[in-house]
């Protein structure tokens, strides 16, 4: 893997610190009137998402992290791991609960996800921005209410719960924005 000088640090650069992959968030150059310059760098741990501050002597080098974002197709969950496939090479990777995290509730088979790989192993999974899902359970709404005001919880086929307008019924198919977890519209089948 390449090494990077602090002079090359910019937001988004992936580096290794204490054996963990990090992304540079912010890089601030500080220098006394005369003397040693430092870079005060905010970095985000790509495993825990925690942001910490680290100081480097200006010009020092750090090892890069082999972190890439790839588009993979979600295949299935075996109860413990989530399986994804590269649609070009047909290579499969498995992600653990830590990597899938909140994305799990939006994963429907065949969905194309953005998976962040570190040394080939998934660090995190981002579901598609919009998903189409069937409502498996929701309270019967008031007949004639088409305003959408108020709303009620609805459980989707993956177990995710979203607020839907009162007129939306069990068995209907809806579109959801996974970034906000909000109902967008009904989908005609």
């Amino acid at each position: 893997m390449a090494t990077y000088s602090t002079n090359e640090f910019k937001s988004g650069l992936k580096i290794m610190l204490d054996g963990d992959p990090y992304a540079v968030v912010e890089n601030e150059f500080v220098k006394p009137g005369k003397g040693q310059a430092f870079n005060r760098v905010k970095v985000r741990n790509l495993k825990t998402n925690r942001v910490i501050e680290r100081t480097f002597k200006s010009g020092d080098t750090v090892e890069g992290a082999d972190v890439v974002d790839v588009e993979l197709q979600y295949l299935y969950n075996d109860g413990e791991y989530w399986h994804f496939m590269d649609q070009q090479s047909f290579e499969q990777v498995t992600a653990d609960a830590n990597a899938v995290s909140n994305a799990a509730q939006w994963l429907k088979e065949e969905a194309i996800c953005q998976v962040t790989l570190w040394n080939g192993v998934p660090l995190s999974v981002a579901p598609p921005n919009f998903v189409i899902m069937t409502i498996v359970e929701t309270d019967p709404g008031l007949r004639g209410d088409t305003s959408g005001g108020g709303g009620k919880p609805a459980t989707l086929e993956t177990g995710a719960v979203v607020r839907v307008p009162l007129f939306v019924q069990s068995g209907e198919v809806i579109k959801v924005d996974t970034r906000t977890g909000e109902y967008v519209s009904r989908v005609k089948e």
């Binding site: 601030e28 150059f29 500080v30 006394p32 009137g33 003397g35 310059a37 005060r40 910490i52 501050e53």
Partner: protein, 324 residues
């Protein structure tokens, strides 16, 4: 920067420059200009000079030339030649320095006062900055601290005696992230770490704060004052946590200056940095006799930033580096 927010900044810069020129005219200090390009460069291991090559005509054909990081050396040559008190408003360049408070090219106000020591010059710096910031940034009475007092008061350690182990322990206690590969022999990088992380951001809140009498090892162009401890007659000015100026009671001893340049070049060699050609013209001028004087360099853009109530240098430059 949109034109409507740029114009007030351009006006402020012009007003401040005019006030500076009036200040020095009233005190009989002569404005000078010296070359930006030189065959010699600073040996300071913490300063990186931009380099270029002259393609002729003339005897300097094909010769590498350096863009100055400050106009100090040629100004001292003028002093040695009998110029008397001089000042210069110079564009200077420093490679590898960019951030909220750094731009690789910036404006330095540098001046020299014959017959002044660093204390008398600090008073003049206070006069000038107070005048320039009047009606722009309210200031209370200046604060004066020796480098020793600064460390003793805020970190409870003696910067002239402390060992690397002691400095590292204080840094740890202060929650400073210790950079990898910090030297185990030299104390200065550790003092700089504490200064930049634990002290500077708090210096000069709402008032000028002068720090003076630095460790001898941190004052390569300053006179040393024998005593216990041995200190370099150097000072720094801070305002609202921002370093504004650096000054010296100037070293006039050519032999000692050559020794320090050589030591800095040796440090450069050790760190794999380019060894710089010594300014033989400066050394010859010192040999011929530099009048007893003190000099200071003040970051004009930072002063504008403070006067304008801005947080970053980019906000007070017509075109910051990324847009140049």
């Amino acid at each position: 920067m949109p034109a409507n927010s740029l114009l007030p900044i351009l006006r402020l810069r012009a007003q401040l420059l005019a006030q500076i020129r009036a200040f020095f005219a009233a005190r009989g200090v002569l404005e000078v200009e010296t070359p930006l390009l030189s065959a010699a460069a600073t040996t300071d291991p913490h300063l990186a000079s931009f380099a270029t090559v002259y393609s002729g005509p003339g005897p300097r054909y094909g010769q590498p030339l350096y863009l100055h990081t400050s106009p100090e050396f040629p100004m001292k040559r003028l002093l040695a030649a009998g110029s008397g008190c001089i000042y210069q408003i110079a564009r200077v360049l420093r490679d590898g320095e960019a951030g909220h408070r750094h731009n690789p090219e910036f404006t330095l106000l540098e001046w020299y006062r014959v017959g002044f020591d660093h204390h008398r010059l600090m008073n003049e710096v206070a006069d000038l900055v107070t005048e320039l910031l009047a009606n722009r940034l309210p200031l209370t009475e200046p604060e004066w601290l020796s480098y020793w007092e600064l460390f003793e008061r805020h970190l409870g350690l003696d910067p002239h005696q402390a060992t690397v182990v002691e400095l590292a322990a204080v840094a740890e206690r202060q929650g400073v992230s210790i950079p990898p590969r910090m030297p185990v022999q030299e104390v200065d990088p550790w003092l700089d770490l504490l200064l930049t992380h634990c002290l500077e951001p708090y210096l000069g809140q709402g008032r000028l704060c002068f720090v003076y009498d630095y460790p001898a090892s941190q004052a390569a162009l300053a006179r040393l004052r024998p005593g216990n401890p041995l200190v370099g007659e150097r000072f720094e000015l801070y305002l609202n946590g921002i370093e504004l100026a650096n000054g010296f009671h100037e070293l006039g001893d050519a032999v000692e200056q050559r020794r320090r340049f050589a030591a800095e070049n040796a440090t450069r060699q050790m760190r794999g940095l380019p060894v710089m050609p010594l300014d033989e013209n400066l050394l010859a001028a010192l040999e011929s006799g530099l009048p007893d004087c003190a000099g200071v360099a003040l970051g004009f853009d930072r002063l504008v930033m403070l006067a304008a109530g801005k947080e970053t240098l980019a906000e007070v430059l017509a075109f910051p580096f990324e847009q140049a």
